[in-house]
Symmetry: C2
Subunit: 93 residues, 2 copies
């Protein structure tokens, strides 16, 4: 499994970005406005998510529109369940 996706998801700002994008595509500016951080800070977070392939960017005139890469997110969740779900460890001792 891609290490990047874990790092990407391990930051709460980035998880909130993901949740925002579940509502639908949004511009970088719209996303940045939801947070108390400077816009370049959010830009870098977006870049981390993009490198992890969790979001897709698309230039639209003067804006950059981001949307979720639902597939990757689903694959990640699936992988997590495969590896860590249904854990039956011995309860003895």
């Amino acid at each position: 499994m891609n290490e990047g996706i874990f790092k990407a998801m391990s930051d709460s700002t980035r998880r909130k970005i993901i949740e925002l994008l579940k509502e639908g595509p949004k511009t970088a500016g719209d996303i940045a406005n939801q947070f108390p951080y400077a816009q370049p800070t959010i830009s870098r977070h977006l870049n981390v998510l993009k490198n992890a392939n969790l979001i897709i960017d698309q230039k639209e005139g003067n804006f950059i529109i981001y949307r979720l890469n639902t597939t990757i997110l689903q694959e990640w969740l699936g992988w997590l369940f495969e590896h860590f779900g249904g854990g039956n460890n011995d309860e003895n001792e």
Copy 2:
């Protein structure tokens, strides 16, 4: 959701420790022997997992036995699915 569990799970060595412990309880030494790192390094990883409440330690004579806290892991996976599973973003544009 507890931030610690994300940080804990975002490291591949720690994920391998979790997978090892799915087989059953193991001593700190047994765990350390599975990795090419010095034992104190693994000890600190174990501590991170313990602080995230993902594993439980138990002193057994001269050894410390670690085992999975299956509940927490399951809860985490459940939370992930609630928040990030079933993502239906608009496919338009």
